[in-house]
């Protein structure tokens, strides 16, 4: 294996990281405020890809499809939060986990009902087709688009959470919910807004992943497990952790694909298990 090939694969790994980051950041900001791991994020991701497929096929534009997925998954997210999760915020955590897990079952079958179980594909937008040679490796233009999207979403979330008034409010509410409520901030509405934002990130992740994967009802569960690895390695609830974790998982996974093509996933989880043995709370997480 030459160094040139390794570098090319690492670059592709970084673009996978960017795609993972979109999903993991949604999970992590929801956890940061709501203290809830949303297993149904898997379904929002899959729905994002399906919405993108349908709208892109109708309008012939990938961009319209992406925009529509973000809006529609946000609407689904709002319905989940308002209709179901709100009822059990004060219940045991285990019930919340079960509820979001049950949602995956429901959504997986609903997508099967609406779109069938056959794999679907979305055409690459013409402006992003083709590849450029980097050090002699042909790297698809789409990889750079993914890296750009992941980077800009990361920067946007950083500005929102740490450099804006809204971010200060969100962090305060995460620290002490009742006190923030007493200060006159509508915390239940803030929960909905953050959940909807996270859901939209999941949908965006699904939409822009759509052109480079096959769309199947199970796709969400397959990627969500890698995103779990990301936020576990990085530390649950930490944005920086999600960024570093997705870089580690993306690049490690891409290189694992070169070394043990059949068992790249196992390769990834061995790393996760090792990190957990040393730091069970993750690289940037708080001890719990």
């Amino acid at each position: 294996m030459s160094l040139r090939l390794l570098l090319g694969q690492a670059l592709i790994g970084i673009s996978l990281s960017a795609s993972l980051f979109l999903i993991a950041s949604g999970l992590t900001i929801i956890f940061g405020l709501l203290r809830l791991i949303n297993f149904a994020h898997a379904s929002l991701y899959a729905l994002g890809a399906y919405f993108c497929f349908t709208v892109a096929a109708k309008t012939n534009s990938f961009w319209a499809g992406t925009a529509a997925s973000v809006v529609l998954t946000m609407a689904v997210g709002a319905a989940i939060e308002r209709g179901l999760l709100r009822r059990i915020y004060n219940a045991e955590h285990i019930l919340q986990l079960l509820l979001t897990f049950a949602l995956i079952l429901v959504f997986t079958d609903l997508t099967k009902m609406c779109w069938g179980a056959f794999p679907l594909t979305v055409q690459l937008p013409p402006s992003l087709a083709g590849s450029v040679p980097i050090l002699g490796n042909p790297i698809p233009v789409y990889c750079f688009f993914l890296i750009g999207s992941g980077g800009s979403v990361g920067a946007g979330l950083y500005l929102l959470l740490y450099r804006s008034k809204w971010g200060a409010i969100i962090r305060t509410a995460a620290y002490d919910r009742d006190m923030t409520n007493a200060l006159g901030i509508n915390v239940p509405r803030l929960y909905t807004l953050v959940f909807v934002l996270g859901a939209g990130l999941g949908g965006l992740g699904g939409a822009i992943a759509a052109p480079m994967t096959t769309i199947i009802p199970d796709m969400g569960v397959l990627i969500i497990i890698e995103s779990f690895a990301v936020i576990i390695i990085g530390g649950v609830g930490s944005l920086a952790g999600a960024a570093l974790g997705s870089l580690i998982i993306g690049v490690w996974g891409a290189i694992g694909l070169l070394i043990v093509p059949q068992f790249a996933m196992v390769f990834t989880f061995v790393l996760m298990a090792l990190i957990l043995l040393i730091r069970p709370w993750g690289l940037f997480g708080e001890k719990f």
Binding site: I94, F101, A102, T108, I225, M265, F269, P280
Partner: protein, 320 residues
């Protein structure tokens, strides 16, 4: 009470058709699977979304042995022992990584490990048969002290399952009533206090995880010879939903709850399958409803009904 239940289950094949005997056998296996899950979930407070991985490990271990040494009278014993050993080893390794993690992370990491087992079964074609699975497993003969019996004849296979499940349930009952069982329930109720009185909670949690994993593996080892196939779907995340739903339907706070849940669940699944192929949708809705409303499951209602029936029939207070 227990003997009565076993006696009824032993007599049922005499009155049921072959089809329902097979359904009943699979209900017993699912019941064992769900009860093993509930040792972790109901008794220790650990919610695993990857329990199917251990079930599948047992199923594949048994299928592998039966496929490679068919015909001999001891092959079923070897299969069961190999399945127990494999699920013991796997749950010890997975448990060692997982038990120190808190609720959320524990659920995520067990889901991940379940999918790792699924991937291995799916991709390691030489040993596991890939996406075809291991099929064409010969129904074994069994050497008993009284002589050789043929499991394919009559309802013998059903009786073997009943025997193994009944013994396993008895063992699990002993364990949850032992000091160990009391300790894991104490840890479930308040881990910090349990630590303060000097208990090594990680070892107890690991013990519970391994115990639960071994019985899941045993259930798997009964499953593949009975069905004649072990396929990778047994390890998939959707299969891990089974014990969760069965335990919740039956009630996680009751020792036999998951077994009752398995009965209701499998019968429902059987009838739902006649009308629609979207069982995940149906059970997702059942799961949401049970999370939002009846958290105790249906077992206490059934028990109250049975007690009332007993009082009406015999005119005295029912035993527990």
């Amino acid at each position: 009470m227990w003997l009565l239940a076993v006696a009824i289950l032993a007599c049922l094949p005499q009155v049921l058709s072959k089809f329902y005997v097979i359904l009943l056998g699979s209900i017993l296996i699912y019941g064992l699977f769900a009860m093993s899950f509930n040792i972790q979930f109901g008794y220790t407070g650990l919610l695993s979304f990857g329990h199917a991985g251990l079930f599948a490990a047992g199923a594949y271990a048994a299928a592998y042995v039966l496929k490679h040494m068919p015909g001999s009278g001891i092959s079923m014993y070897v299969a069961l022992i190999f399945a127990l050993g494999l699920s013991l080893a796997l749950s010890a390794v997975i448990g060692a990584v997982c038990v120190r993690l808190s609720g959320w992370v524990f659920a995520m990491v067990t889901l991940a490990f379940g999918q790792v087992i699924y991937t291995i079964l799916y991709k390691w074609r030489d040993v596991t048969g890939g996406d075809d699975g291991l099929y064409g497993i010969a129904v074994p003969k069994l050497i008993l002290p009284g002589g050789m019996i043929d499991l394919s004849a009559g309802n013998n296979h059903y009786y073997l399952i009943l025997l193994v499940v009944a013994v396993s349930v008895a063992v699990m009952r002993m364990v949850v009533r032992s000091p160990f069982g009391n300790t894991i329930q104490a840890i479930r109720d308040n881990q910090t206090r349990a630590q303060f009185i000097g208990l090594n909670v990680w070892n107890y949690k690991l013990g519970s995880f391994v115990l639960s994993g071994v019985f899941a593996g045993l259930a798997g080892a009964l499953f593949s010879p009975f069905k004649g196939i072990a396929s990778p779907e047994l390890a998939n995340w959707a299969f891990s939903a089974n014990p969760v739903i069965m335990s919740l339907i039956g009630g996680t706070g009751f020792f036999v709850g998951p077994l009752v849940g398995a009965l209701v669940y499998r019968l429902l699944e059987h009838f739902i399958a006649l009308y629609t192929s979207y069982w995940m949708l149906c059970f997702g809705i059942v799961l949401i409803a049970s999370v939002l409303s009846f958290r105790s499951g249906i077992t206490p209602y059934l028990a109250r009904g049975a007690a009332r029936f007993y009082e009406a029939a015999f005119g005295k207070e029912a035993p527990e």
